[in-house]
Amino acid sequence: MLIRIADVHKAFGPKKVLQGVDLDILRGETMVVIGGSGTGKSVLLKHIIGLLTPDSGEVYVDGQAVTTLDEKNLNLLRRRFGMLFQGAALFDSMNVEDNVGFALARHSLLSPSEIKDRVAECLDMVGMPGIQKLRPSELSGGMKKRVGLARAIALQPEIILYDEPTTGLDPVMADVINNLIIEMQTRLKVTSIAITHDMVSAYKISNRIAMLYQGKIVEIGTPDEIKNTRNPVVLQFIRGESTGYLHQGGSN
């Protein structure tokens, strides 16, 4: 097991977002966490990489408790991660080349020309060769996500976190991203954790799916097991029905 999330609780003011999340992620697998908007999927993802600290509970990466790490060790741990943000979060003061090469320039011993080569390689891998000199404002949503993915894999991470990788993209571009996620897993042998509410994407990319509901993981299983679940909450969610346990546009 690579990542263990143990009884994590998190509240923002009076709003309890996570209420005892337990989840184990195995080395090399792609785990997809599904759940409605506002259920705390992004919050859960941010706990894994130490962007948020749990009120109680712990996240372990390779047996290391994330909250106990000092700044230096937390940064060392973060170098093992790559993260693709929902809006790609590219630095708009830099061009694509500087974005993708950002971590390489700061944390590797590569020379500028080696960094250029690695950036080109990463852009090739996401199917966006030759766009090094473009600014993020010149890219479409799908292109931004692919550049964001190139930036995430630049340091050759062991674990990639995907925050809503297909949200806001047309179905064809969403499938391109899905294929890239699968390619990352097979080619780079990374462990992936994706959060999404796109069930097409979830079935396609995942080895296992977990459903977050009312601050807890209520169901976990392979895509087939999830498709054949008897849990009414999960059934309603995967079928996209507006009546049932889940309220329209809400978390419960």
Binding site: K46, I49, G50, L51, E71, N75, L76, R78, R79, F81, G82, M83, F85, Q86, G87, A89, L90, F91, D92, S93, F102, A103, R106, H107, R151, L161
Partner: protein, 274 residues
Amino acid sequence: MTVRELMTKLTDPEYLLKHNILTFVLKKLLLFTGQLGEMVSLAGKTAKWMVRPPLDLRLIVKQMEEVGYNSIPVVLITSIFTGMVFALNSFEGFKRFGAESLTGTVVGLAIVRELAPVLTSLMVAGRAASAMAAEIGTMKVTEQIDALYTLATDPVKYLVAPRVLAGLIMVPTLTACADFFGIAGGYLVAVRLLGANPYIYINSTKSFLENSDIVGGLVKAAVFGLLLALVGCYKGLTTEGGAEGVGRSTTGAVVIASMCVLITDFFLTRILLG
């Protein structure tokens, strides 16, 4: 309601409790102390990154250009016209009791000790602190700050330290320019427009202006530069709520930075005057 009635009500604990005014004031006070604490903590972290190598010179030079070089036109225009209007007013005033020869001294002292550092800082607060809050605020709401963390880069090191260093170096530099151009503006008006004797004017400026006046003004400017950059960055990093939040942070940065400059000015002047 008359002022007296209002004062009576505001000093009556029962009235305050009943209308939740006490809770409101306490909440605001708590919020203020909380923010002050956060800003002090940010200052501490920034100080740590400012002295811990390796310093990213490229980032520092870029910010020095942003804070300093790009502010030159606005600071020059402000200082020249301030010197001019100050000379105009003081010459006319001194003329009433035949002391026009003091114009150079008064303009020089006022510019160097007070007007150049304060006005330069206010201009930089309007230009650069707002830009810092807007840029960092936009990065915050578009998750670029989170992205920095995930790329194992501390935003305080990458964004705040270079800006604060730039403020610390460039605001005194701009103030030194403002000193010169303010005095030059005063000279132009007094000598060319109002017919003062150029020799007496320059002499009265030089003989009463001491090095400590100039250094004191520059020390003040350095403190203001540090403060306004810190406020701009703090407001940016604490931005919440999309485009509206960025707007709020930007306005807040200018207002708070300007107030910090004016309030700190009094205490610094008091200390510098001994």
